[in-house]
Each structure stands twice: as C-alpha cells, then as structure tokens.
Subunit: 330 residues, 4 copies
C-alpha cells in the first residue's frame, strides 16, 4: 500500500484522486491545492487531509505524488518531489520550456525516482488494443499514420495565452501518439496552420487549425490534422497503414442506439470531451503507475517521453512560424 | 447511509457487493453464503463481515438486503426479509413457481417494504437511452418490437435441469423487455422451439432455440428469437418500429478498432457475456435501488414486474408444449 | 439470339424490357399492353413493335415471353405461351389461386417449356452473396432465419382489395426467401397480424403488419416481420444464425456519405423502394433467364417455387384468420 | 444524336465506348487503336467501325471524340480534334508537360470547341452527393480536407518509368478533389514521400507513399495521404471539416453482407480498383458530356481544371525533391 499526495484539486485532479482512492494498492493521504475550498472538498470526499506542498513532501509516509496542478507548477513540483524521494506521476507537459523539462529529467535521474508523464491516450482501451495488434504483426510493417484530433471547442483565450501554443498544449498528445505508434525517430517536421474559428486566438498569437507532417528515419510518414472546433464533439481517431493492411481506432459513443427516421439513419455523437472519452484511460494509467510501483517494473510513459513530445511540438511551432519544414532527430 | 447484507457470494453476488461498496449511500455490512470460503473472501475484500441469514436479518442496523443467491432461495429470503422489514433487492426470477412468487408479493405488500426485482437490462445505457427516446416520441407510436437474444453457449445440463426451462431461465429478461418497451398488455402468445445445439438439452426436457410471437391488446406485435449458442458471443439487440421510424439497440464492443486486411474489414466481437455486457447496468440498478431508498421514491422494477414476466414465460412454455397460440391477459 | 415479347408496359414491364434490350443474347421484338400508348412508348424506346397477345404468341420467331402485366393475366398468359412453346419468364405470383397456379404448372410441364418465376431477391448481389457463403459453410448449419421486410408505404386501398391480401401480395417474397435460405420443408406456420397504419386497409379485409413464425422438419426456425409502412424507406434485411456464426444482409444506401453535426452522425436512408433497391437484381434475373436458355441449363426459380411460396402464403393467411398455428408440409 | 469516335480500345477505352453506346444522345461510329485486334473487337461489340485517326477526324459526321488512348497521345489528339472542330472528352492528364497542356488549352480555345477532362471522381455518387451537401451549407464553411487515396497495388515499374511520377500519375485526381471540394486557391504546397513497397520504384526515381499538405489563400488546410499499396484494396475516402460539422465520403463495397463468427464481425472489402469503384462515375461523366453538348451548357471539368491539377502535381513533386514547402498561386 502506497500513501499518496495529489497536487491539484481541479478537473483533472479530481479524476486522479478518485482513481487513486479506488486503487487497492494506493491510499489517498493528502490533497494539495492553492484554492483551499477545492482541496477541502476533494479531501473530504475521499477521507484524505488537506496539506501544503511542504507538509505532503516532508511526510515520510507519502510514497508517491500525483501532480495535476497547473502547468507552470509541474517543473517545480517534480524537482521537489524527486529531491524528497517520492515516486512521481505528472500531467503533461513536464514544462512549456524544454530546457526546464530537461532539468526535471536530470533531477529525477539523480534522485533515482520513478517519474511517469501522463499520456493517458496510450491507456485507452481502443488505442492500446490497436497498438497491441500492430505489435503482433496483424498488418505487417507500419508505413503511414494518420491522426485526427479535434476538440469540441476552444478554451478561453486567456488560457490560450498561457498555454504555450497549440502545438505544446494540444498536439503534444498527438506527437506522443506518433512516437508510440510508429516507434521511429522523426527526421523532418512540417506544420501548416491557420486561425479559422476565432480571431481572438490569432490575436493571442496562436492558431486553431493545424496540419502536421512528420517523416521518420526509415521513411514512415505521419499526418496529423487538428482543430480547436468540431461541432459534433471530441474527435479522436487514428489509422495506421501497414504492409499487410490497416488498423483504425474509431471514436467512442455513449450508446449503441441507431435511429431510422424519414430524415436519416442517426448514430450517437462521440463522447463529448476528454473527461468522458478517456475516463477509462485515466483509471488505467493510474492503475498502471501503482501496479508498476508495487511490482518494481518500469512505467510505460516516462519523463523522456514527455521531453520528446515537447521537442516535436517546438519543431512544429518553428515550422509553422517559418513556413518551412524543419530537420530534426527526435 | 443504509447498511446492507448481501446474500450470495457467487458470480453475481460479487458484482452486487462491489457495486454496494462503491455506492455513497450504502455500506456493505454482511456477506451471507452457504459456501463459507466464498463469503469470507468477498466480505474481506470489502471490509464486511460474514454472517448467517438470521444474523443479517436480525440486525436492526441492516436496512436493505441484496439477494443474489441461487434461485431456489429467493422466495424464502424475500419473505423473511420482508417480515424483518428490510428493503429488498432480488435477482430474477422471484421464484420458478408463479404461485410462490405471488405469495412473496403478498408478503412484501403486507410488510410495506420496497422490493426491487433485478431486470438489469432496463438500466443498460443503450437500452435505457432507446426507451427514453421512444417515450419522447422520436418514432411516433411503437408498433413492432423485434428482440434478438442469444447466449454465447449453453450452461451445463445440470443447471438446465433445475432452471425451470428456457422460457423462465433465459427469455424472462426478454419478456420484461417486451413489457417495458411496448408498455402494453399481451393477449396472445405463440412459441415455437427446437433443440439444435446439444441433444442433452432435449434429454433434459428443454430446448435451446426459440421463436416467440406476442400480440398486444392494441395490436402491437413482438417477435423474440433466442438461442443458447452464438459462436460470436453474446447477442443482445432489439429494435422498435414506430409510426415515424425505427430505433435499434445494437451490441456493445470492447473497443472501436477496425482492421482492414486482404481478408475483410473486421470489427470487435460483442462483449462476451452478461457480466461484461451489463457491467454498467449492474452498477446502475444498484445505484437506482439505493437512490430510490434514500429519496423515498418508487423503484423502477417491482415484484409485480417479476411476476408478469414469469406469467409470460409460463404462457410461452405452454404454447411450445401444445404447439398452439395461447390467449392471455398479462 | 432469342427474340422476345414483353407483356406489360407498366412500371415493372419497362424495367424488364430495358434489361431484355441490353442483354446480348436477347432481342426485344414485341411489346404487348392493353394500354396502347404505353405499349407504343416502350416499344419505340427499344426499337420494338407493338403487338397483340395473339400476334406475339403466333410469331414463330419469338422464342421467349416476359410476363409483367397485371396479376390476373398471369395464368392465362402462362398457359397460352406454354401451348405456343415459348420459354416463359413471369412475375410473381403465378396466380392468386393455388389451384389455378397448379394448372399453369401442369401446362408448362406438358409443353416442356422453361418457366421462370421472378423472385428477383434471389438475384440481389447482397442476398446471393450471403446465400453462397452460407452454402460454402461459413457459419455451419443454419438454424434460425429472421427476415425484416417493410415497405415505405401502403399501396392504394383499391390495389389492396384485389391483391389477394398481404400474405400473397407482400410476404410471398419473404416466403421464397425462407425456402431459398433455409432449404428445408415447413411443418408449421403461425401468423399474427394487425392493421395499424390505416383503417381503410382493415376495411378492405386486410392487415398491414404481420409477424410470422415457420418451423421446419429439421427444427429450424424462421421469423418474418413485415409492415406496409416504414417512415425511413424500404427495409429489406435478413439474418441467418448458424452453428458457427451469423450472416446478415443489410440494406443498400444510395451513397456512402456520413455527416457529423451537432445533432448526430447521419447515414443515408436505404434505397427508397423495390425499383431502386432491386435494380441490379432485376437485371441479373433477366440475364440469368436468357443465359440459362442459351446454355440449356435449368433456371433457378421455377414455377414450382412460385407455387410453394403461394402455399405458404395461404397457410399464413389461414393461421392469421384462425388465430392458431397451421400444420403444413410445404 | 451525336456521332462519336473513341480513341483507345484498352481498359478505359472499353468502358467509355460502352457508356457512349448506351447513351441515348450518342452513337458510337468509330473505334481507333494502334492495336488493330483490340479496335476490331471493341468496334464489333458495339456495331461501330474501325478507323484511323485521320479517317475519324476527317469524317464530318463525327461530332465528338473520346480520348482514352495512352497519355503520350493526348496532346496531339486534342490539338488535332480541336482543329477538326470536334467536341473533346479526354482522359487525364492533358499531358505530362504543363507547357504542352497549355498549348492544348490554347488550341481548344482558338477552335472554340468543348473540351472536357475526365476527372471522373467528381461524378461518383458518393462524392458528388457530399459536394452538393457541402455547397448547400450542411456543415457551414469548409476548413479542413483530409484525402486518403490508396491503390491496391503498384503498376509495373515500366509503367511507372513513363508515368510522370506519382504526383502526376496518381495524385492528380486528389489535387482535383482538393480544388473541387475546397474551391479555393492553393498558396503553399508541401510534400513528403517515401519508397516503402518496392525498391524498384525507387530505382525508377519515384516514390510510392506520399503525404501532401496544401494551404489555401483563405487559410483552409488540406492533407492528402497516398500509397501505391493497400492490402485490403482500393481506398478512396475523404472528409471535410466545416464550421458546423463534418462530411465523410466512405468506401463502396460490393455487398452489404456482414458475418459474425468466432473470429470477428466482418464486412466486405471495398470495390477492388478504379474500374469497379468508379463504374457509375464513368457512366455519369460520359452522360454529362453528351447531355452538356446536347443542351449547349458548359462541362463541369474543363481543360483549365486539367492544367491546374497538373500544376499542383508539379509543385508537389518539386517540394518532395527539395524537401521544402513551395509557394504557389494555383
């Protein structure tokens, strides 16, 4: 049984806290949040205690921390938790600044602690089943990956301003999917982008619609298309063409009801957004973290993965700004 | 908070116990099972205590019982729990004998306790969404219901011998779907049947494949086809034709992976059997029971529903034996 | 090259004439219709000549006739064409009266001419592919057949009055599907029915909604559900459960466009009615007829098939009237 | 009625000849092919005459020519047919050399003849239905287009050597789809590519797998991914994201049979290759050509469209060779 401190009592912190509380090998001891009412409410719900960062990290009973607070706190918390010898589960990104993320990596390595970066999509039942079948050779050698990744709507412009831009904020997940699915090194990145949904996003120096192409060392090709707006909900699909076929990961719907009326044959819209779509994935990644800690086995998504995804995001952002492909080795 | 005794630590008992334990308004206090190791293991898992039927029913702290033990114990436990003033959640069927089931109903009414019979399919997300849309008038007046209900494989013949026959054991759920979806009174029942999958089932006096037709007072028609064997897994679909369209409830699959190979385009098989297919429904029906108790509102599936489904099963069995339609008023 | 007379220049006659004209082994010589303008227009379109029945049958150059005139003319034309030694392609039904149909069969046999009854569904690409895969053993032994057969709307009541009733007019196709797919002898037929879409149909002594169950000698079960009204169009599906799986024949849509909007994910409605849905089947059955004539091989749907389907329709009608299952050997 | 000469009696020439022969406003008079036996066979099948190019073009009775001969003959035939005052229907591409294609355009304009370039995909029922719904505003303003275009297998390397390269030979259709669907001017083109299926293709200086991104004047984004090999057949899909939703064009399958076995739920593979997939489109484009001639209305795909698609192909090829995005105004 590992005692756990959760940092962040917001949307994602609540989900992580619930999953920690349900895991048989974990015990939620502390909830930490600068907004005390949120911390109190979440702690109360799970029989945990509100604490400060110091109290949580100084308590030798705490074996692991789950970092779900705002992005700008990640690096500091990782470094302090590493120094305190705690196992670390941290939301992406490590930090918006790659250098600072690398400093975190160094701290983690120096301390010799486990640090898992939460790329929850790898734990989604559909995505992980596809990956397993791909690895089992069902479609031969993978050659082309097409990723479609669209949010139902854009976040507030204030959020966008401090988000690090669409490539680091939104596509970072897709870059991780690219690395995970194709398992190859990127040698060239090209990104086109536009602001089509809201001029305020352009005003914030960002874009809402992107088209990225990555070529790998062995010549595999990856195309990613994203938008901050899909009227029909959260669109999370990818497909892999291999030498012997194709595997597609489709959207998930709340129900399997189909209606036939004089108008059309109608199916459910996809699960509305990430909290619903990745509900099982969030539980599975937390379970993986604590199972790995208990078994002493490596975690599947490390801080190195977090840094590679960031590097790809930076390359894409540069390509978009310069209007040219960027040569990389990521 | 209601304290609960769960009767039965088998397959379905474990599921109910887990859902009780997770419900914020319920507290699992006792597990009762004639097989003590099973009771101990299940109680241990949820911090509950092993008890005898008497101990559980005599404890005034216990407000509700969940009956998931073998069918032949249901009637006795319902009557004793009713006498003890406990709220009752009981697996279907009430009893294989309609008269005995009616005696249970009388006992429940006399005691004035809540008694919910577990027709979990009504709580399935797909089925309940369809029903809501039907009630909202999406396809006008319902006219025809077609139910397909197939198990992946037959239970052991020993089970079949004491099951009450396929109509009471298997189709009872489908009869409840008929009553729930069409919301009308059956006036005629015709059942054809065959033993096609295993002669041992015929040896036990039963059949494995059925085709039932029900006509209602207002002329609505219902067809049910069932089999004890579907090589592709658990097949649980129905569709309603209405004056303005059709609503279909399709099978649920573990993932949304689709493969394209030189052979075909392949989708997942449906969830294998009822424990997987109705996982969410089992949680939802328990939640409904405790929510209703907490709110003092009626439960959605009562002992009267359990008896009506039994009566339809008896009528179908008679029709099958006699090779003729049976006039009813159920 | 076989010269052909087409009887009937209405909706179905036009389709047959066009398919005859396009077939490399056939030459459309005569069009015969009591309504001369229709005959003229159709003949003109294909470079054929308008003729009377006698002229067409007396012309020794004519090798085959295609009968697409009204139902009440079929028997007479079959008998006269047989006497004239012509190969015969005739729309279903042979006649509404089984005895008269048998007389036609006798005439055909006596004359030794080919007589094909047009059950075009057997020639539909989807249905015939399913049948071939079934025969190839893909799902083992067939056990259960479920047929869904719904028209977009009812024909005029005047048509219904002289149609012979829903079982002979509409379900005759479904009875042929039953015979073709299961390949077994019916021993019991039960039919329930209601008039739900239009009281005028009841006024005409008919029903618009049916639920039929057939049991075969070897215990196979077939359920057919039909309606004269499906708001979403022409619904023509069936599925076969076998010992090793299931084969389903789905509806055909005009396009493969799928829309995702804020409302739903929407697919095309099925092809609207039989002229569209079975367009390819109509061409294929005519092609089969002339190919068989050219090759001297048997036709796939004979007058015997036409009579068996009629007998099943009569049994179903009797079961519906009497409210009881009917024992047969068809 | 227009008399027609068809140039080319190969695979595509046969299809065009058949469609000409079936069109009520057209009469197939001549078939021209350097391979005389092919010309004879095709002419014989449709009651036409074998002729030389000169004979066909010098016959004043000929009103239109259909050019389906090899690519290197297109430009010469277009120019000669234009000079002879014939209406022209020509397979893509106009020519592999853009300058020569422009000379053809000049010749056509000077002669004032109709010249339709055969982008048959625009006439596919699924694609044209999608386009109509897009134009009708069903998903608001289009923003992103994703095109997937994969052949079942590569053509012989000898063909590839003289094909002009994958961008002119294969993607030219996809570039036309881009122009047609988004209706906007391309301002930047980026193409990545690899040879992954057969080293002999690389030996011929070509690639077999591409990933193209186009950005338009108004910021719309288009991604195209193509491969010369899809083990599962011909994959021809595209989807458009708009401000109010998404429209997808899916693959077409030969039948609607679905099998459920112990292995999976299996659907048909898509139509195997272009002759099957675009069978209806080939008929529709020929029909459109002759209907437009008869009505004196403009054709939908002009020689200007052919040249724009070529220009995009050249830009993509240059981008691929240089590894950089190319600025254009096409």
């Amino acid at each position: 049984m590992i005692e756990v401190a959760v940092f962040g009592a917001g949307r994602i912190g609540k989900i992580h806290a619930g999953n920690v509380a349900r895991h048989p090998e974990a015990k939620l001891r502390y909830v930490v949040d600068v907004h005390e009412p949120s911390a109190k409410e979440l702690a109360g719900k799970h029989g945990a205690t509100v604490a400060s960062v110091d109290e949580a990290l100084n308590d030798p009973a705490v074996g692991a921390v789950v970092i779900g607070s705002s992005t700008d706190t990640h690096a500091d918390l990782i470094q302090r938790a590493a120094a305190a010898g705690k196992a670390i589960f941290c939301e992406k990104p490590v930090d918006l600044d790659v250098e600072r993320a690398r400093a975190c990596q160094a701290a983690v390595e120096k301390a010799g602690v486990v640090c898992m970066i939460a790329f929850q999509r790898r734990f989604d039942p559909t995505f992980s089943s596809l990956k397993k079948r791909l690895d089992d050779g069902e479609i031969g050698t993978p050659e082309v990956l097409v990723v479609t990744s669209r949010d139902p709507g854009a976040p507030p412009v204030n959020y966008i301003k401090s988000s690090g831009g669409v490539f680091k904020d939104m596509l970072i997940h897709d870059f991780d999917i690219f690395r995970w699915v194709l398992g190859d090194v990127a040698v060239s990145v090209h990104a086109a982008g536009s602001c089509l949904t809201d001029p305020a996003i352009e005003g914030a120096g960002d874009i809402d619609t992107t088209a990225v192409t990555i070529r790998t060392k062995s010549g595999k090709l990856c195309q990613i298309n994203t938008s901050r707006r899909a009227a029909y909900g959260y669109d999370q699909r990818f497909e892999v063409l291999g030498s012997k076929g194709m595997l597609q990961a489709g959207n998930v719907t709340p129900t399997q009801v189909v209606s036939h009326t004089a108008t059309n044959i109608a199916h459910d819209l996809p699960e509305h957004f990430f909290l619903e779509r990745y509900r099982e994935a969030y539980a599975a990644e937390i379970a993986h973290f604590f199972d790995a800690l208990a078994a002493g086995t490596p975690v599947r998504t490390t801080i190195a993965d977090g840094i590679k995804a960031l590097e790809l995001a930076e390359a894409a952002a540069r390509s978009w700004r310069e209007g040219q492909a960027v040569q990389v080795n990521i």
